[in-house]
Structures are given as C-alpha cells and as structure tokens.
C-alpha cells in the first residue's frame, strides 16, 4: 500500500490524522516557552539569533523560545525560489534555509519564530497545521470570520468574494534541525502590500495577498494582534486548541517543480 492509497488526494491535505492525539502537546518540554518581544529586528540579525538559540535548544542548554518581532523591509527566498519569482525592483533578497519560496517581510507584519523542541516522533505536518490553526483562530477573533485553509497550499487565506480573488493573510516557512524548529510565520497586519507586487509571493501567481487592516477596513496593528496570537500559539502547541478542518478551497501546489526544469 502506498502513501497515496492511504491518503486519497494530495497528501498535504489538512488536517490528516495526527500521530499525536490532538489534545497532547507537540512540545517535548512541559515548561512554558520563554517569550521574547524583540521589536523591529534586522532579518540577518534575527536569523543569527534563531540559529544560535536552536543550537542551544538542541543541546538542552535552554528551553523553548518564542521570538516575536517585525523586520525592516526585506525579501527572503527559500531554496526552491524560481528566477521568475524574484523581485523586479532591484531590492536585495536574502537566501534562507526555510521551506517555501519567496516572501516579503516589513514593518506592520507580525513575525513569530518558535524555537521549539518537538516531541518524538517529530511530526512536521502536525506542527505546521498547529501554527496555521493558531493563526486562523487569531484572525477570526480579530474579525475576519471566514479565514481558513486552501487545500494543497500552506498559510492562512481569506476566500474569494464577488470582486476579489483568494488572498493570503499569513505565510509559513519552517526548518527542523535535530528536532528543533526554526523560522515560523508572518501575519500581515498593517503593512504595505506594495512590495508583494514585485515578486511572485510563495510562487503562487493566481491569488493575492492581503492584510488584516485591509480586510477589516480599519487599522489593525501588530500590537493589537500580538497577545491573541501568542495565546493561540501556546494553546495550539499544547493541544488545547484542536486542529480543525477550515478548508474552503483546493488548489494545485504550483511549487512542485521538478529539479530538471530549474
């Protein structure tokens, strides 16, 4: 029996039966994570900090960490970023070691990097779905009641309506080394969308990006969203916020490009 027989349709379908009971923590440690509010931090500086903390976490020298921050305007590109995804405005791109393709970060966008030692057996799918679940809960709480998932694509989306296409409000990109997570998620709050216009964000060209402020027609600040998101993340990681099926659509994953064509 192949994996495809077991999971009809795309294997990435959310949610699939987790290897942990959904009500159990996915963290190896029972101690609460240390939450660090870092403000606006240069991308490279934050990346160095993540790598250092992840290494210390893997060695058991520190406990789990939750880094809460914003970045000054920057593009970052995962390994699978295609040449045509890259910005056309001449702005620099930092090549990074997370999953996913290209994205943009900037002020007004809430970024969370959980440096978490995952419980054995490490279940990456479950971890990603829990992060998404926390973002969905937060976005809905703030007022975007129909936010959810698109099957085959990661991140958190607002469904198309009469005039607008499906649009992404939060993006994810993860790395797992020695059972410890790095990178994480970004949630568009009050940032400009101007910089997305110069790239093919996440390699997806048949959908748009949005912000909470744009969806709700009022200023939704990083400050307003931080506490609810941190609470939801802690609950999701602990298994107190169960991963549910908030899928409203399905789309092929355009990011699966055979290496031969690269």
């Amino acid at each position: 029996m192949t994996a495809r027989d077991r999971y009809p349709g795309p294997i990435m379908t959310a949610p699939r039966e987790p290897f942990f009971p959904a009500d159990r923590s996915i963290r190896a440690s029972g101690e609460p994570p240390e939450i660090r509010y870092l403000g606006v931090v240069d991308y490279q500086e934050a990346w160095n900090l993540q790598a250092e903390l992840a290494s210390q976490r893997a060695a058991g020298e520190i406990g789990d960490q939750l880094l809460i921050l914003e970045h000054p305007s920057v593009y970052t590109a995962g390994k699978r970023t295609q040449p045509e995804d890259r910005p056309t405005n001449g702005l620099p791109v930092i090549d990074v070691d997370r999953g996913g393709r290209i994205t943009w970060h900037g002020e007004g966008q809430l970024v969370v990097y959980p440096i978490i030692k995952l419980a054995d057996p490490v279940d990456v799918v479950d971890y990603v779905r829990r992060l998404e679940e926390a973002v969905i809960a937060t976005v809905r709480e703030v007022g975007v009641g129909n936010a959810g998932r698109i099957d085959g694509r990661s991140g958190v989306w607002v469904p198309a309506d009469g005039t607008r296409r499906d649009r992404k409000v939060a993006a994810l990109g993860i790395r797992v080394t020695r059972g410890v997570t790095m990178h994480g998620l970004s949630l568009n709050c009050s940032n400009t969308l101007e910089h997305y216009g110069h790239i093919v964000a996440c390699g997806i060209d048949d959908a748009d990006v949005t912000t909470l402020s744009m969806e709700l027609g009022r200023d939704v600040s990083v400050r307003e969203v931080t506490a609810p998101l941190v609470d939801a993340l802690l609950a999701a990681l602990a298994g107190e916020l169960a991963v549910a099926d908030h899928t409203f659509g399905s789309a092929p994953d355009p990011t699966k490009i055979p290496a031969k064509t690269r």
Binding site: M1, G78, R98, V124, G173
Partner: protein
C-alpha cells in the same frame, strides 16, 4: 497507529528514519542504498524537494548529508552510515512523489560504499521504537 507500514525485513534502520538495504554486518565494505522510511514520509508530508549529496561526497553516520522539503518545512537528512557516495538517484528529482509513494524502493536516494555503520536497528526494532 493509523496506518500500516511494510518495513523490509532485510533492511536496517536508523533512529533518524533512514534505511539501508543491508544488515550492518553485510554493509561494511559493500555498497548500500539509502532512503527514508515510510514513517518519515508520513510525518514529513508530501516531499516537494530534496537536496542530496553528490557522487564522491564523504558522508558520516549521524551527520546531516542533505535536506528534504515538505509542507513548507525543510528537514535535515542524516547519513545512516559513514562512507563515500557512489550513486545518486536522480530520478527522484523528476517527481518527488516517488519518495512518498515507494520510500523503500524506487524512492531510494543515494548509494554509499560503506566504511562504518552508525547505530542501526532491525525492522522489528525500528517498528517497536516508532510504535508501528
């Protein structure tokens, strides 16, 4: 556990979820294939990209030797043995689905001429360690 796993009985398994197609005794001095197990592919989700070592590369048991990307996540690939890479399964780059569909067969990743093996388990030991 939700699913069944058919672990080849003549393979050996690492705790990092890689396999070699030989017993530890037979592997030393021989060339073995290396891949990731069905337990790994399930927990990774659909593989969309793999970065593999190149022919001639030295790999060290327990050390990272490549990366696998799935579900917006990059995970390290750890070498189950120490030795020299003699062949890479380029076919996986044409369609990474083969890694999920046939992890113990057509989804093999690379071959190594083995100097030493790392800690390895039998199929039964691996199954027990992972509750499958």
């Amino acid at each position: 556990m939700a699913t069944e796993h058919s672990l080849p009985g003549n393979y050996s398994y690492s705790e990092d979820h890689e396999w070699i197609d030989a017993t530890p005794e037979d592997a030393v001095g021989a060339t073995v294939k290396v891949g990731i197990t069905s337990v790994a592919t399930e927990r990774l989700g659909e593989v969309v990209y793999a970065e593999l070592p190149q022919v001639g590369d030295a790999v060290t048991a327990g050390e990272p030797c490549g990366e696998v990307e799935s579900t917006k996540s990059v995970s390290d690939l750890y070498a189950p043995v120490t030795g020299t890479v003699t062949e890479v399964n380029d076919a996986v780059h044409d369609d990474y689905a083969v890694i999920n569909d046939d992890p113990f067969g057509a989804g093999w990743l690379f071959a190594v001429e083995v100097d030493e093996v790392g800690p390895l388990m039998t199929a039964a030991e691996y199954a027990e360690a992972n509750g499958v």
